[in-house]
Subunit: 335 residues, 3 copies
Amino acid sequence: MRLGDIAEHLGTWVRGDASRVIRRIDTLERADAESISFFSNRRYRRQLLATAAGAVILSEADAGDCPTNALCMGNPYVGYARVARLLNPVPEMEPGIHASAVLAPSCAIDGRAFIGPNSVIGAGAVIGAGTYIGPNCVLGEGVRTGDNCHLAATVTLCAGVYLGHRVTIHPGAVLGADGFGIANDDGVWIKVPQLGSVRIGNDVEIGANTCIDRGALEDTEIGDGVKIDNHVQIGHNVRIGEHTAVAGCVAIAGSTRIGARCSVGGSCAISGHLEIADDVHLNGGTNVPNSIAESGNYSSALPLQANRNWLKNMARVKQLDEIARRLRALEAKSK
Amino acid sequence: MRLGDIAEHLGTWVRGDASRVIRRIDTLERADAESISFFSNRRYRRQLLATAAGAVILSEADAGDCPTNALCMGNPYVGYARVARLLNPVPEMEPGIHASAVLAPSCAIDGRAFIGPNSVIGAGAVIGAGTYIGPNCVLGEGVRTGDNCHLAATVTLCAGVYLGHRVTIHPGAVLGADGFGIANDDGVWIKVPQLGSVRIGNDVEIGANTCIDRGALEDTEIGDGVKIDNHVQIGHNVRIGEHTAVAGCVAIAGSTRIGARCSVGGSCAISGHLEIADDVHLNGGTNVPNSIAESGNYSSALPLQANRNWLKNMARVKQLDEIARRLRALEAKSK
Amino acid sequence: MRLGDIAEHLGTWVRGDASRVIRRIDTLERADAESISFFSNRRYRRQLLATAAGAVILSEADAGDCPTNALCMGNPYVGYARVARLLNPVPEMEPGIHASAVLAPSCAIDGRAFIGPNSVIGAGAVIGAGTYIGPNCVLGEGVRTGDNCHLAATVTLCAGVYLGHRVTIHPGAVLGADGFGIANDDGVWIKVPQLGSVRIGNDVEIGANTCIDRGALEDTEIGDGVKIDNHVQIGHNVRIGEHTAVAGCVAIAGSTRIGARCSVGGSCAISGHLEIADDVHLNGGTNVPNSIAESGNYSSALPLQANRNWLKNMARVKQLDEIARRLRALEAKSK
């Protein structure tokens, strides 16, 4: 593909040789004369200066450091995403139902869908056109998927789960398992029946081994365009607003509502029954015990220290209230 | 169902119209005149005042705020759990073995059990009466389950795992994988064979994608009535006492013993070889590096702050020991 | 087996009766006269003094406390690992392909491999000699495994994943799912195609429900001898050096490189694009927001406190910068 055509696809132009032929996308370090690369993280400036790439996508501000043909964009990472797809289109899916799949007689599978080996589809399930159900998936009774969904393999959708269009789910994810509803009856836990379901919007991506529990009474709801990484736990009745991104190993407890366009960094833990406003950004490892009414950036993680310093400082954390009181006493005395 | 009958089931009485017909249970917000609802979390008082429910289960103390028929109970959340089950009974299971299941010749499956499509049952396994093994489960050699267990789908029980009666396990859970036993032999890790197994008591519930490792020499043991949420990691030789509840994303390292009637909040991390007393309650996100000898409530999580404050305060955490020493010096001087 | 033979296997000698017959290995507490045990954690000294074991493996320094035959070694835990294997050898695997497995016509399975019930092997996959693929595994197109690997059950290897020799993978693990690559295009997340794969070295062990994502452009790489526990999340393009150990529930974000011979305690969270030196040891629960250039021990977790103290002290953490400034002002005044 000629570099000029790539630039056109991105809505920009080539500073340099537009006729250069590009066959691959690669990192600055590995790219050769037939590769295009990108520069969007300043940690890698040394690699930019030394790159052998045939072209680099980068911002106007960094163009001066580019030793080869440049494609300038406001957001070079978006440019990278688009060119990577342009050079590596998704292969066409061949529809069909593998002979080893087990289908309940009453399910409705579109003729343009694919059901993989050893997958099990329950009674009343509806599978949309162009939807791919990979090997060893389980879809319970009454599951409905939209069109062009992609369940990679070993995905479990419990009874009644609903997916919109173009939903991608990675292996090991479990949607619609019972929420953790238990009531303490004189020292013995009794189960609260989990009667709701899970509703996933359009264009949602759900990572490997992520769990999204069914609601207790209402549905758990994931908005359009939400992207969820691996090992995320989403409790019953949670609602996540459109275009929010949730990184790996995040835990969101039951009934919490997260706004639109938020980003939740890896390993955050969000308590239950909270309201998180739109456009809230949580740094990795943040504990969220209270609602957040204002958009903005929030954090709580303690940064690491060498062990000996950490031990001394942590002992002082336990004295903090006392330290503050002694400081106040001293201030009073010195007046 | 008449409201008077529901009240009787709960061991209470109706303040209002006992002949009211109730068909559903729902949230305060969504309930209509044929629905019963409940009020147990004061965050939702506004919804109580505005509810259109036909009846509400709530505590005596809150009855004054109830705009409709009231059923008063000491623990309205328990009332909710019981009425939800009363109105939504568990459907009868039809026993049988699906043609696609793969059974070792020597396993013993009770005639009243169900083995789902594509499940694999190993040699010498014993499956109790009324036990449901959903689709795509794997039960290794010598696994034994009690009666009336429910393995939803895609559950893996490794060789020799033992389940009591009425154990519920959600999809993706793995019981009996090898514990993380490694010994450092001059810079190279060698594996410690994991020769124990996993013993699960009666009435235990285990969440989706939770792992409970087999013991190194002794068994890992989960007591009767324990409830475990999703994404929990329980290391080898851990013992958890009766009626303890463990919320999502908790990690419990090897050989730790947790007492009875404890509650472990989401995302807690408990180190290995500890003893946690009975009736200990850990708030979400608590790190537990030491044994806990006394019952009570414990926490360690830092609450979130706006980023700019967090950055300034975290820098000071690293100076805490120095701050405490400077304070002491100043105190000495001012005497 | 005679105790003298066990001692010889360990490269040590018996202090006591070398002709004693040993049949089992067990804990100090449960061992009887025909059992050998070990002592490597001083928390268990009381059990050593009271043991009924036929022999104990322990260090020279602890031999005086041993009430029975002693085998002294510099590292008794290594001795335990070796004797446990000696007394419990891995059973011979019988090769073969189960009739219910689904194999793409073009895959190449060594005659000495085993493919379990309901496993699915994709086109072009290559399975090495002595490799065991347990029940309900999914191996995508072009997956290659070395010799003598062990995939316990329900393991998913996505397209193109490469395993070295003697790799053990526990149930529910997912290797090669797409990394979390998303680019924000004016408020809408677009997917960054994940074009790399995953390369696992020799003698690696990977825990249950652990995820290792495929690289965006380059491969994600796990070095020889690395041991990874359950519920670990390893992002795209991560590289882990040889003989590093990663405990349960650790999250390692994308593009981070971890050195050789490191140990990462349970529940650590490591940010993306970092460089961690060789021989770094992270205590459990450590947040790592920055690169670590020097080997050593690091920590960040706050230890737990009784709730009432924690509440008071945490309120002060939010005032820390102010406290430090007030202290400085007081110091200036007192000069």
